[in-house]
Amino acid sequence: MATQHSRSAARLMMAPAVVLLLGWMLVPLIMTLFFSFKKYLPLRGDSLSNGLDWVGFENYARFINSSSFWPSVYTTLIIVGGVLVITVVLGIVLALLLDQPMWGQGVVRILVIAPFFVMPTVSALVWKNMFMDPVNGLLAHLWKFFGAEPVQWLSQNSLESIVMIVSWQWLPFATLILLTAVQSLDSEQLEAAEMDGAPYRKRFIYIILPHLARAITIVILIQTIFLLSIFAEIFVTTGGAFGTKTLTYLIFQRVLESQNVGLGSAGGVYAIILANIVAIFLMRIVGKNLDA
């Protein structure tokens, strides 16, 4: 079909995108790898032009052995895991609900999706001050209304608070994708099961859930990639205090706040490896879909 001429033209048209992305990926990656094997403290006068000392795997060992490493892994897992569970479970419930016949479906959909469009710094700050402030926050008012002691959200229940904020941001995404999947469900199959007397619980477990399996997997994988690197929510609310330092935030602090580039870069390499493990699974699914 395609002539030799159009083939070479096609290659030429693809070139800018490929070259740019290749550069964007390789140059920083190689530099991070390079820095991770060096002692590089810009504030103490180390610089590229003076030459950096090679320290082998010392940065890698120090990053893992530092007292903040394991807590940051724990924090990351809690945030990613917590948000995933909340958004997927509530997302399924909401998707099934929104699929039901009702009045004003379009408007409800918009209401549910809206949080996704709020920029991370705004949602973090609005939640932090207007809802979670222990004195003037709306939640404090609500607690007092029911005669309870207001919760010290971000200082004493910091992880839960961040999970809440981030879940609020990502619930629309999960709901929207699951809703799209629910809508492609064959209703005849469901009706047949209903006529055969299968209760809703059984219909849900044997028909709806298997149908949603792929969409759920995709939601989990994509959200994991985004959640592993949440930054603004922590930057604005706690600044990494009160046990909310994720791996991403720890690396950010090492690199930009304490300017220990070697150490931070070693951390960055760990983060890249971690993200790649998730990415491989995602790419498999997307790739399969491409053939279909």
């Binding site: 992305l21 990656l29 009702m102 709020v118 001050n129 207007m130 994708i177 930054f231 950010f252």
Partner: protein, 276 residues
């Protein structure tokens, strides 16, 4: 599902769905409402929902004090600039992958997607250093390029899925009639691809507008967009709820409106075509 349901059942669905919808939307609604209150009313105990003296004062104070327009312009410039630049690079690439596929097309697409998976923090310092060396730190041009690059895979991918839906026979017919590559692109493909391109632009604009890792780390004063403007409210101004709300409302309003138009594209764009 085209099934007959009783009116009662429908009413119940409606009630539950609206309550949940409003609950989820509430933080946004509350922010918008608070932005029209005075500071005293904003922290009133018990909270006032609707019956307060509506005022626009906060908006003018925020604009005066922090020069909101400058941040807004930066946001528009960064989101718009990166989107347009991204499209210029992505349209030809997506076109060639969709209409002149080769054995490697699939691998290239997947590889492009994989660059999106690279955690930003892993390459923070090299980019930061590069920006300093090139004098791009806190410059709009630098950020336009970075934002364009982080969203380029999504743009290419989305355009590709849209272009794929254009029947190849039409292009072949045009070729048989002797249309050159340029004519084919300009007169046949572009008109048919415009809806897809518009959706892609919309989603990408939203993503770039809300991006808050690079915009926070690579700007200071000059190039700071609304994400950074809001982050600067974190203390102590953040305790002035009415002003915080006014600033927040102004930062999210344009995108909320655009977002409503882009619901469908959201799914396609963010799942890379894996869920349609």
């Amino acid at each position: 599902m085209a099934r007959a349901v009783t009116t009662n059942r429908k009413a119940l669905n409606t009630a539950i769905a609206w309550i949940i919808g409003l609950l989820i939307f509430f933080p946004i609604l509350w922010t918008i409402l608070t932005s029209f209150k005075t500071e005293a009313q904003a922290i009133n105990d018990p909270p006032i929902f609707l019956f307060f003296d509506w005022t626009l004062e906060n908006y003018s104070i925020v604009q005066e004090r922090s020069n909101y327009m400058k941040f807004l312009w930066n946001s528009v410039f960064l989101a718009g600039g990166s989107t347009i630049l991204g499209l210029i690079i992505a349209v030809p690439a997506a076109w060639s992958m969709a209409f002149v596929p080769s054995k490697r097309t699939k691998d290239i697409l997947l590889w492009m997607l994989s660059t999106k998976m690279l955690p930003a923090v892993g390459v923070l310092y090299p980019i930061y250093l590069g920006f300093i060396q090139l004098g791009l730190l806190d410059s709009r041009v630098g950020l336009v390029i970075v934002l364009m690059l982080i969203n380029l895979p999504i743009i290419v991918w989305m355009l590709y899925t849209y272009f794929k839906e254009i029947p190849g026979e039409i292009l072949e017919a045009a070729r048989m009639d002797g249309a050159t590559l340029k004519e084919e692109l300009l007169y046949i493909l572009t008109p048919m691809a415009i809806p897809g391109i518009a959706s892609t632009m919309l989603l990408n604009f939203i993503l770039a507008w809300n991006e808050a890792f690079w915009t926070l780390n690579l700007t200071a004063v000059n190039a700071a967009p609304l994400t950074a403007f809001i982050a600067s409210y974190s203390s102590p101004e953040g305790l002035f709820f009415a002003k915080l709300s006014a600033a927040s409302t102004m930062a999210i309003a344009p995108i909320l409106i655009l977002g409503w138009f882009s619901q469908k594209q959201l799914v396609r764009g963010l799942t890379f075509g894996a869920v349609k």
